[in-house]
Point group: C2
Chain length 350, copies 2
Amino acid sequence: MNLKIAVLSGDGIGPEVTQESIKVLKTIAEIYGHNFEFQEALVGAIAIDETENPLPEKTLNLCRESDAVLFGAIGDPKYDNNPDAKVRPEQGLLKLRKELGLFANIRPINAYDSLLDKSPLKREIIQGTDMVIYRELTGGIYFGQKKISEDGTVASDLCEYSKLEIERITHLAFKAAQTRKKKVTLIDKANVLETSRLWRRIVTSISREYSDVTLDFLFVDNAAMQMILNPSQFDVILTENMFGDIISDEGSVIGGSIGLLASASVGNGTALFEPIHGSYPQATGKNIANPIASILSASMLLEHFGLNNEAKQIRIAVDKTLKRNIVSVDINKETPSSTSQIGDVIVQML
Amino acid sequence: MNLKIAVLSGDGIGPEVTQESIKVLKTIAEIYGHNFEFQEALVGAIAIDETENPLPEKTLNLCRESDAVLFGAIGDPKYDNNPDAKVRPEQGLLKLRKELGLFANIRPINAYDSLLDKSPLKREIIQGTDMVIYRELTGGIYFGQKKISEDGTVASDLCEYSKLEIERITHLAFKAAQTRKKKVTLIDKANVLETSRLWRRIVTSISREYSDVTLDFLFVDNAAMQMILNPSQFDVILTENMFGDIISDEGSVIGGSIGLLASASVGNGTALFEPIHGSYPQATGKNIANPIASILSASMLLEHFGLNNEAKQIRIAVDKTLKRNIVSVDINKETPSSTSQIGDVIVQML
Ligand SMILES: CC(C)[C@H](C(=O)O)[C@@H](O)C(=O)O
Ligand SMILES: CC(C)[C@H](C(=O)O)[C@@H](O)C(=O)O
């Protein structure tokens, strides 16, 4: 298969971890006779530094012309602590999601047998956890109108959802559940929010088309608790943008490190694959970041194009590497391996 | 001291647990020579059933005339699963918060030595946790304009904050930090939300008046992770309404049960004291609910009026009861005590 892949490695540890994914993808291409073409482009703080634009036109065009985007990370503390910055790195990622129509962010969360004791949660709590979060990604309070009064004393963000926005991701979530444990849990705050009540109405109505799938509801506050008390109760979680952001980062503690969590963002055109962790500025350039989230995102990329065996081989190689305790410092403080060492071992395992 | 206390025990297990708090408060009044007068009023689903109004005028007036409100719980599944209900129990609580001007909800979270092994989190993770969450309670997306289009296909909720709303709770949080570990962590999503950037600006500026207190920032997604990875890093958490709702319920897993978590809501007039758990409909009438969250809320009530020793005696009695493993089924499935037994033991301990 020929695939044109745009590489947006971004800020902080983004470039380091993305480099390892590329190594893995190149190895897969060689072994299985595919042709993957990689083209790099700027995004985030580094794009602001060079072009004053967190998502240069050139980058967006490259993404549009590509089959997939391999994304690194975004964000820089010099913007985080400056609420007055007019341009911020995150705008690059948000605009990219919107422009590419990436309305569904898919985040699988599993407990790895070899890492059961690495989690802050007890082994018996996380054992058997196997869920996937469908987070709506181009709507809600992230993209609604933002206002600040002229004198700077009143600010607002609008959370808005339309039927169409809810329907399209709901179908994806139910279809996923059909291939899994046949359960969808909608997380919302329908006892307070009008948008949540719209979600509940539409999701309930769509659920009738999937009679083999059970639909459950959880208020987001309760969900934040249930995620920790009993994560294995979940199969497919469906939720809006902001709740999905919070709940999926919370869920990352189950696997033992956020450095393991991959995601796929899909929609109308080019799909995007990115680790859910951030740019982790303190680790930049130190060759200590965990590349596995990025490598598993590359595996999701292959799966997206039907290269299921290739995707699986990556997952198996990652599993083996974890079992051999070849892991980065986020998982093993005593004898950590470096970012590039882990990449090398995964490549060897393939 | 003379105190007039409005009792709004509400729905589900609310009445059962509140009854135990009243028992405890009456005992305190006897021992220390106070005069507490209790008057009951309707709120929530039960108020809708009887008056079609989740917060009858009579209830609101009683609260206004009282020194404090002892609140039980609110909510009924018959409304939760009906997104079309026009009147809902939660409106009673939300209106009460707004009408009484209860802008700050204060939620302490501790790990109890005797319960360290009851948490889904590992003992070494939670040991030493001692934080208090200051959640803004009368602003944000809870109270902004809600809209639904006539054809029911587009809904919105407005999240709005003003300088004044942020300032008043910020001062409370910093003052609390001064009496504690001298650290405030602001939880927001300033990389996306305009309201969060307003929070960051105002809180940063106020922090200069409290030079003995350190101010930290955490994005809410990261905070949801840090809460589980390393809860003892926190002292005072300051956050807006919705994030506070999610983060504090999440934090309840630290103590081993949400049935232990008390809260005080304070503002311009009458203060309100309530467990953070919900109405737990499945347990209603079974005498199995945990009354400790309610009893500790009563202790916060006494503290609010400067009855620090009395408040402390309740906390000591609760500690002793927990140590003797006299706990409800949420904490001990094998040999649980009933709601009223636990209340009785705490009364004896006083
Ligand atoms: C960087 C930030 C804007 C982003 C988000 O909130 O969506 C990130 O946290 C994520 O989850 O991908
Ligand atoms: C019942 C509900 C409206 C309420 C809230 O979300 O504030 C509850 O969850 C709480 O935390 O007190």
